[in-house]
């Protein structure tokens, strides 16, 4: 593990939000020698981070419609396999064409993958069936890409563990009740320790809002607006591994078009809609039924599989209030310096993005934070191998 840069003596950053983005940001800043405190009101990764289907994106899903995200995904996919080896089922993925309409999408898909430098190998139905015998035998073609399965909680825990080892303070069960604001400057946050019931104040030169789909609510505490649309999706966990590789439907994003094998489960995802408040998410039964129906098109054995769980998770998508289903919104990310955007100093929001791009989001945000602090240290997270997740629990 790399030793962190010498402490920047006066620079102190408060990160609000203990999901993957906050984890990677705490790690990045700690490596640059910045004093970091991260607060999370619940358990770490209890918001969106822990709840996703566990896909390490190759970027192929976005190769046609969202090339910016596609490039981000393949770059980060490659980096994460290096710095967090052992946190992924590295079995690759297939994009499977089932209909003539899917086949019409194929040329654009292959071109998109090439343009974004995503390795893509066209397979015949026979080749695909030899790799995945449970696939719908009437498939027309398949494309192999470097998708993988991640442990949605333990991979981010490795960022937390490494950040802590480099001096970051990670405080869970610590809720932000308000921001400290004087004369248009945010100087930290008022917090409530859920374990002791005590109130406290945490002073910081820069406070970062890394709360994913909650980032609009936290930004409002600073009197600013961030254009976030919490966009939930339903997922269905089935008992048993129905495939070894990640199976995607080769078409424009739609409901129930991915099956992620994970542990002893197969996860079918997902749907997409838009809500105002990500706190309480419905699990609409018609969406769950849709997962069964669409999943069965990719793997007929889905029909006979045993139910394990159905749940919803809210994506933090960047978009205006006009957004309808969330499908039309980009999966890219943004770091917003509210001094530039809203004339509120000391406050930065990092949002959008995906679990796959957590490190890249952190680098972008840490660059913004360090510029504000006058810290001149480069990002070192691309080459720093992370500690095992168990190090997070070490005393």
């Amino acid at each position: 593990m790399a030793t962190p840069a010498p402490r920047a003596p006066d620079a102190r950053v408060l990160i609000v939000g203990g999901g993957g983005t906050g984890a990677a940001l705490a790690h990045d800043l700690a490596l640059r020698g910045v004093r970091v405190t991260l607060v999370e009101r619940g358990e770490l990764t209890s918001g969106t981070t822990g709840r996703h289907h566990g896909l390490l994106h190759s970027g192929a899903r976005y190769a046609v419609s969202d090339p910016e995200s596609a490039v981000e995904c393949i770059e980060e996919n490659t980096i994460l396999r290096r710095i967090a080896a052992g946190s992924f089922e590295e079995n690759d993925g297939l994009f499977v064409a089932l209909t003539e309409e899917d086949m019409e999408y194929l040329p654009a898909f292959l071109e998109g993958c090439e343009a974004s430098r995503i390795p893509a190998q066209l397979l015949s139905p026979e080749q695909a069936l030899r790799l995945e015998p449970n696939l719908n035998p009437s498939l027309k073609a398949a494309v192999r890409v470097p998708d993988a399965t991640m442990d949605a909680m333990r991979m981010p825990l490795r960022f937390f563990a490494t950040a802590r080892a480099n001096g970051a303070e990670i405080l869970n069960h610590m809720e932000v009740t308000g921001l400290l604001i004087h004369g248009g400057i945010v100087s930290g946050a008022a917090v409530l320790d859920q374990v002791t019931g005590r109130d406290a104040e945490i002073q910081a030169d820069v406070t970062v809002n890394a709360t994913g789909p909650w980032s609009e609510q936290v930004a409002r505490m600073a009197g600013v607006d961030v254009p976030i649309r919490p966009s939930p999706g339903v997922m269905l966990a089935l008992r048993g591994r129905l495939c070894n590789m990640v199976l995607n439907r080769l078409h424009r994003s739609g409901d129930g078009d991915i099956i992620v094998p994970q542990r002893a489960l197969s996860i079918v995802g997902t749907s997409s809609w838009v809500v105002e408040d990500p706190e309480e998410l419905d699990v609409p039964q018609d969406h769950v039924r849709r997962m069964w129906e669409e999943g069965e098109k990719l793997i007929p054995a889905v029909r006979g599989a045993r139910f394990r769980a159905a749940w919803s998770a809210a994506r933090p998508l960047i978009g205006s209030r006009g957004a309808d289903t969330g499908r039309e919104l980009s999966r890219t990310f943004k770091a917003i310096d509210h001094a530039e955007a809203d004339r509120v100093e000391g406050f930065v929001t990092i949002t959008g993005g995906k679990a796959t791009t957590l490190r890249g989001m952190a680098e972008l945000c840490a660059d913004v934070v360090c510029r504000k602090l006058g810290v001149d240290e480069r990002c070192r997270t691309r080459e720093t191998v992370l500690l095992p997740h168990t190090a997070h629990y070490a005393a």
Partner: protein
């Protein structure tokens, strides 16, 4: 896709008796909450409802919502379960009693300190192992073996259910022993002699009373008790070989 186009199932009210604890010197006590539930509402969703609508300070761990992360282990009506895959409707009639898992230090309400869970392991447990193949799968070019995450989700339910751990915390317990057996079962470059020597101890493989409560409690089909028995067999064979 339209949301919630179907009529919502009927809502009933259930009483949850939730164990509350803060480190103020007082022992844990129960607090009752009336919670609306519908068909399929899980214990985790019911507890989240309490956090959102009744008491934001209710201490609770959760992450994945599908029995893959292991954070929401607790005792519900006296049995070790994952709250995220336990339907309230499956718990019969009457109040539902919810307590933290046992045999680990209690931090707050339903939150235990997992540090002493991991401290029992001989070395950090790896996450990934070779996957059993889906029948007749061919390996894609460039991949040595299909791999998958371990069944053990490190939830601590086996430790909570173990009657031996309950009386003696120096016993390393089922999760760590099952893990040691997995390392021997599949050659992953681990130091076999070191693992066998770690397991060959009065506080390790020989301490189990074969109550099989761990296997009963395991939500992830690890079958720790059977693995402890297999580990003993391995230890006996190893001794004979050494002689």
């Amino acid at each position: 896709m339209d949301t919630a186009t179907l009529p919502e199932p009927a809502t009933t009210t259930r009483t949850l008796r939730v164990s509350r604890f803060s480190r103020d010197g007082r022992p844990p006590r129960f607090e009752e909450f009336e919670v609306p539930v519908t068909e399929g509402t899980t214990v985790l969703e019911a507890l989240r409802w309490i956090r959102v609508h009744r008491d934001a300070a209710l201490g609770l761990r959760h992450s994945c919502f599908h029995a893959s992360c292991g954070t929401c282990g607790m005792r519900v009506n006296g049995r070790e379960v994952l709250a995220c895959v336990t339907d309230v409707a499956s718990l019969g009639q009457g109040p539902v009693t919810i307590e933290p898992i046992a045999n680990l230090p209690l931090l707050q309400d339903l939150v235990v300190d997992m540090a002493s869970f991991y401290a029992r392991f001989p070395l950090p447990p790896p996450l990934v192992r070779t996957s059993e193949l889906v029948s007749a799968s061919e390996l894609p070019e460039g991949i040595d073996a299909h791999e998958r995450f371990e069944d053990c989700i490190e939830c601590g339910l086996c430790l909570s259910a173990c009657p031996v751990v309950a009386t003696d915390e120096t016993y390393v317990g089922p999760a760590a022993l099952a893990y040691a057996q997995r390392l021997l079962e599949e050659d992953r470059g681990a130091d076999r002699a070191a693992i066998l020597s770690w397991a060959d101890d009065d506080n390790a493989a020989w301490r189990c009373h074969a109550a099989f409560e761990c296997t009963e409690a395991c939500p992830s089909d690890v079958r720790p008790a059977e693995r402890i028995m297999a580990l003993r067999r391995e230890l006996v064979l190893h001794r004979e070989t050494v002689r």
